[in-house]
Symmetry: C2
Subunit: 458 residues, 2 copies
């Protein structure tokens, strides 16, 4: 068996090539939500397939209604445990483009960080785990356990195809542990695992109040304005105190345990630092909960985009006939996505005035996930972190959503939500980055995790 | 002197050519607010200059910081009164383009209506008045009074250049009456004059809550959302009851007199018809006021356009850092635009939460106008309408704003706000139209008005 020192030396030697390889992948704009990037999604999947092929995996490209899934099976190691690695090659749209210091699909190193869309979420982390296997193989001549990769191209758009695949072929993905390197450490130097993820409901609200736009002088005061109707509607759903006004929405919300809350208070992440990293003058939201509880354990309603009326240069004095808001709700453990979607639709319909035609389009619903961390693979992961990072993993939560995790959990194997990202990576935002030191150390960490897993008998 | 019959016969003979001529003018997309149409504005001014040249006017093209003003002086008729015609050759942007049945700058006749941007507001009406002079001249060999045209290209963007011109050269525009054919009849068959216009304040609200967009999973619940901040702000300015929550805003608002309110109740314009014409399922606004009072005599706040966050296809789960609303306030007699602008700014600042950077950009302020209708030119107008439309003019109001009217009123001559448009012309909206029968009859009407004015001695 190789050691941390051996893996570290290998990474040191290969750094330049690895940076080149990852950059090649990051240059492919695999934005899953934009139809014009469908070919790029396929290219990004193809790049990873080539990588896993060379590692000796048997890689299957599974066609779907949208973007292909990769299913890769490593060489068989009889008697050794199996680890399934889940990740995604698709990325978020890069807008607003003008806020990027260097273009989103031109990977650039500045101050030890690699800037590019997808550098942290999630190409960089999938690359880290795959490279860990390369390092292990180089150091000891073989991969000492059974590894499968399940990599999709629709994580950012709701994982519909993967949901279908996992539902249709539950046996194929039997494993001893699932590892999901699509999250970040709670703070630099503080490894962590997520014990819960929020669920998500994507929705679009559309308001129509008139057959056509009207002159605001001739009709203003009596003709219903679609933008105004939309803001009253949004106000009816969420007030300035951050509380959602959707009847029944909080009924199933479980508060974190006292043990969890105590542990969170001890974490090296405090409100002033969080505020600064968020780039906000002050935080907002439900004052009676700590900021960590607000982002990890409270349901939210956010509008991601709004548009209506005349938005060109200059002035146009219309009463707009239509307005639209793109929004989502995040859900916390115990809430059920389909149930909350119904409550939400009901609340919107109730708040809609009689002069307006209001539609709620529920695009996707995903349950929250909770991950018990008492199974043996967590001990292995903890040991690997202690070896490489000189600190064990802290159990935290993530406010984000990985749609497929609840389904992966149904496989009965423990799901390890851990990653080498950092809180300031800028996921879904301009200037997303991966800190290279985290990548290099992460390769050693996952290498040691695989070696330690392989040392156990299944 | 010619008669109604003579003018009518002339119009009958010239119809085809006149329609052709007006269509040529309407084909020029003189959208004043869009910089890319600056040349078109100049072309539209040039077209009208040619028209007035041929009528024997001395036409001056006055250069400004933006779009030229036309100042045209007709042949001198000693001893006869002077009438100043005000109008504008600029038009509103045509968006939303997809709602036009035929393209906005391809004038098309359907069911006796001429569809095109500017057909009613205001090219068609300026054309109507100019053609009336042509008809008078053709019928009797001369124009029997002194006429001046003052035609601008910035009415839809706040009349800045014309304001400057009128302030600098007040004497040049001395006249016995001003006629402003930029309004419409209260109902088909019911001629009217406007006794008041609303003032207007154009403003833009901008909210910034973050340095950059953030991931709504990782920060949602604690990081301030700019769109959400904007809707709370708008809600703080205007509630669902239609009342503006701007302290002091209603202080100077004068209610219409009992005589006015009684007269309005007798008008052939009732709520169901107005609602239908507006294309609304129901009306909105301040319930305790009649719909006519709401559109004619109450201040309003309308948002014309809103934009923020991710508005492309698909989903992007960001907490947006910025959001903008384009809006305006309409003001009623007695209110002072600059004073209300200050109250508005104050109310916005007060409602802005401490985590947000909120800016209010006041773009233009224009006072409301009130026009007493007891001067003799109104009698002349009334007589002309009785002759041509078989009904005298009803004194009504307009909820619209013609920025320059308060300044024209300072010339001491009565300002006659009257026009041959109809309430369903779709001003500022898709499928704007001019009913051709109104145009043909309007030429006779203004012809008779000029002839009757000419018969008076100044």
């Amino acid at each position: 068996m190789s050691t941390t020192a051996g893996l570290t030396a290998w990474v040191e030697r290969e750094k330049a090539r690895l940076l080149d390889d990852l950059s090649t992948w990051l240059r492919i704009p695999s934005v899953s939500t934009l139809p014009e990037h469908a070919d790029d999604c396929r290219k990004a999947a193809g790049w990873l397939k080539g990588r896993l092929d060379r590692l000796g995996f048997r890689v299957e490209t599974i066609e779907t209604d949208r973007h292909p899934i990769l299913w890769a099976v490593g060489p068989n190691v009889p008697g050794a445990p199996t680890v399934l690695v889940y990740g995604h090659y698709d990325v978020q749209p890069p807008d607003p483009l003008n806020e990027w210091i260097t273009p989103p699909f031109t990977p650039t190193v500045r101050n030890g960080n690699l800037y590019a869309r997808g550098s942290a979420d999630d190409k960089g982390q999938v690359f880290c785990v795959a490279t860990a296997l390369e390092a292990v193989k180089a150091a000891s001549g073989r991969v000492p356990l059974n590894v499968r990769f399940l990599i999709e191209g629709e994580e950012e758009v709701g994982s519909k195809s993967l949901t279908k695949f996992l539902t249709a072929e539950p046996d194929r993905t039997a494993t001893d542990a699932v590892i999901v390197p699509d999250v970040h450490m709670v703070a630099p130097g503080y490894p962590s695992v997520d014990t819960a993820l929020r669920g998500i409901i994507h929705a679009e609200l559309h308001v129509r109040t008139l057959e056509k736009d009207l002159h605001s002088g001739l009709y203003g005061g009596a003709a219903p304005n679609a933008i105004e109707t939309l803001w009253h509607l949004l106000e009816a759903l969420k007030g300035p105190d951050g509380k959602l006004r959707v009847p029944g929405l909080y009924d199933r919300v479980a508060r974190p345990t006292k043990k969890e809350l105590d542990a969170w208070r001890g974490l090296p992440i405090k409100e002033p630092g969080f505020r600064k990293e968020a780039g906000a003058k002050a935080l907002s939201g439900e004052k009676k909960f700590s900021f960590l509880e607000r982002i990890w354990a409270r349901p939210t309603f956010e509008v991601h985009g709004i548009v209506g009326g005349f938005t060109g240069a200059g002035a146009k004095t219309v009463i707009p006939a239509e307005a639209t808001a793109k929004c989502s709700l995040r859900l916390v453990p115990n809430q059920r996505a389909k149930e909350v979607a119904k409550l939400f639709e009901k609340a919107v319909k109730k708040a809609a005035p009689k002069f307006a035609h209001v539609t709620v389009n529920i695009l996707t619903t995903h349950d929250p996930a909770q991950s018990p961390i008492d199974a043996w693979p967590f001990e292995v992961l903890d040991a690997a972190y202690r070896e490489v990072w000189k600190r064990g993993v802290a159990p935290i939560r993530s406010g984000g959503s990985i749609p497929i995790v609840p389904l992966l959990q149904q496989r009965k194997a423990p799901v390890l939500l851990t990653g080498i990202g950092l809180p300031d990576d800028g996921l879904h935002a301009p200037n997303e980055k991966l800190t290279l030191e985290q990548l290099w150390k992460g390769i050693v960490l996952f290498g040691r995790f695989f070696e330690r897993m392989g040392a156990r008998r299944a």
